[in-house]
Amino acid sequence: MAEIKLDNLIKAYGKVEVLHHIEGDIHDGEFIVIVGPSGCGKSTLLRMVAGLETITSGTISIGGKVVNKLEPADRDIAMVFQNYALYPHMTVYENMAYGLKIRKIPKDEIKRRVEEAADILEIREYLDRRPRQLSGGQRQRVAMGRAIVREPSVFLFDEPLSNLDAKLRVQMRLEIRKLQKRLGVTSIYVTHDQVEAMTLGDRLMVLNGGYVEQFGTPIELYQKPASLFVAGFIGSPSMNFMDADISNGVATLANGAKLKLSSKFNGPATLGIRPEHLVADDKGAIKVTVDMLEQLGANTLVHGILDGTQTSFVVSLDGIQVAETGSNQTFYAEKDSFHLFDKETGKRIVE
């Protein structure tokens, strides 16, 4: 059991800085998801916690102990890799027992722990097989088993589900979540999949270009995105943005349409609205020229262009809806559901 503290972490390769001043406190037993687009530095950050990458400056502490100079083996962590990284020449049992054998744990204790983990993960009948005789999902379970038997104080997951097919991914996602709750071990999970991030994490750390954009609960990220990047990244389909001039609680769009806001901010800003917060309304101020419909059954996505501008616009309507391509539709949104962002910095405008 351990809390993790990231303090002013910097990672640079030569002169190129890839992670800038990362800060974060992770509580004991918490499930943290680091999410961001490829190349944002999320795997690097995880590997720094694991001890597989050196730390350029700043400190990482696990359970109150600074681990900067410790070997991976001495950090009391276990890691699940994207490509599973099982030992191909060992059986499933040997794979799971390897770390315990090295730590000179008695044979019967190893057997007990491996069998217990195998029961949890339902891989007991595969213990004598070698990794190449297993399917992707089974290998994933073995990789998790190898982490569990060690009984570490921190689990690290590096995109563990990205090699699985869509259905299995959803199933394994739930299992990982249940397992983590049951074991109560502090976990850091890296993914580029925002749905995975939203469903798994107690809190999410959104990384972009080596900066932490926001660190908060999934609901906070959804309701109060701290920047344009987070607003666009979290939620699917992603938020619509439009330029607006705001004065006295009224936003004027580029096409002259006027929208009522609850904000007291005055001046130019980027206005954001989620597709699911719009409703079809004949008297609505948001006028969209329809390009295409996506029928998903439970809801319908209307893709179009904001009338009189070049801004593309998506609306999510309940149920099955029909609209002619090229026709104009008008929509309405509650004044509380708009988000305001600074035009220059992209940061959320907070009153």
């Binding site: 694991a50 001890g51 597989l52 070997e71 991976p72 083996a73 962590i77 276990a78 890691m79 890799f81 994207q82 490509n83 599973y84 990284a85 099982l86 030992y87 191909p88 020449h89 390897y98 770390g99 090295i102 730590r103 070698r130 190449r132 190898r146 060690r150």
Partner: protein, 293 residues
């Protein structure tokens, strides 16, 4: 216009494979058949009379204690050359795999010995170990070892083994390094997180994972030790002292071209030919089949 879609009687395919077939016939089939024929003959030392004796040369070999001694000597020599060159190469590759700075320079330097001709490699070792001029006998003398491989058969054997193994290290190193670099990084990292230090990782993860390469190199090195070490032995010891470094391939040369027993020499080379054919078959049979993991 095209009247035919293919040319069944074209000589082109035969022309294209002709060079390969001619080379095989001239440089392999013909000498091999000559050796086979010669091994059934007994010729006097001046080449004036020749007698066809069927398998007499072979039956003589089977009862010749010198030849049987050479057989065992070759087995020991080959095993030690293969073992030494492979284990040194494995360890060097293990280090090179971990080197980050200057890796290319280090690797290039380690590969150089392979470019040295066997005779020159032998000459280098002769100079270093010359009992009166060499640096090593001088150093060995300080710790009380009297080095003279011209008189001491065991020392002579040790010297040719060392020279032959040294020459082959570079080759083995290349293969081991390539094998190690194709091991996924994640597996090594997983072992590091599991608590295995560098030595433990090397013995429990890396060595088992390069075992297909080890098997391949074992056959290659045995073939090398059997045949290609001729140059080194010829320069360093000429098979001496008192035949203590005469391995099979050297005995073929010695009996044939020095002793002028052409029939007996040909019979020996036929035996060697059979050995190399068997080794190659073993290699093809097992290397094709992936090692179990």
């Amino acid at each position: 216009m095209l009247k035919r879609v293919h040319f069944p009687s074209s000589p082109l395919p035969y022309l294209l494979v002709a060079p390969q077939i001619i080379i095989t016939l001239v440089f392999f089939m013909w000498p091999a058949s000559q050796a086979l024929y010669q091994s059934l003959l007994v010729e006097d030392a001046f080449g004036l009379s020749t007698e066809f004796v069927w398998f007499e040369n072979f039956t003589y070999l089977a009862s010749d204690s010198h030849y049987l001694d050479a057989f065992w000597r070759t087995a020991i020599f080959s095993f030690l050359v293969a073992f030494m060159s492979m284990s040194v190469a494995l360890i060097l590759a293990g280090f090179a795999d971990r080197v980050i700075k200057g890796a290319t320079v280090y690797r290039t330097l380690l590969i150089w010995p392979y470019a040295v001709a066997p005779v020159l490699a032998g000459a280098l070792w002769v100079f270093m170990f010359n009992p009166t001029l060499g640096i090593f006998p001088y150093l060995l003398d300080m710790i009380g070892v009297n080095w003279n491989h011209y008189l001491n058969g065991t020392q002579a054997m040790g010297l040719v083994i060392a020279a032959a193994a040294w020459k082959q290290v570079a080759y083995n190193f290349l293969f081991y390094l390539a094998a190690m670099q194709s091991i996924p990084r994640g597996v090594i990292e997983a072992a590091a997180i599991d608590g295995a230090g560098p030595v433990k990782r090397f013995t429990t993860i890396i060595i088992p994972l390069v075992s297909p390469t080890t098997f391949f190199l074992l056959v290659i090195n045995l073939v090398y030790a059997f045949f290609e070490t001729f140059g080194i032995i010829h320069v360093v010891t000429q098979g001496g002292p008192a035949a203590s470094t005469t391995i099979l391939v050297y005995k073929v040369f010695n009996d044939g071209f020095v002793g002028l027993d052409l029939g007996g020499s040909a019979a020996q080379s036929v035996v060697l030919m059979v050995i190399v054919i068997v080794m190659t078959m073993v290699q093809f049979k097992y290397v094709e089949k992936k090692v179990e993991y």
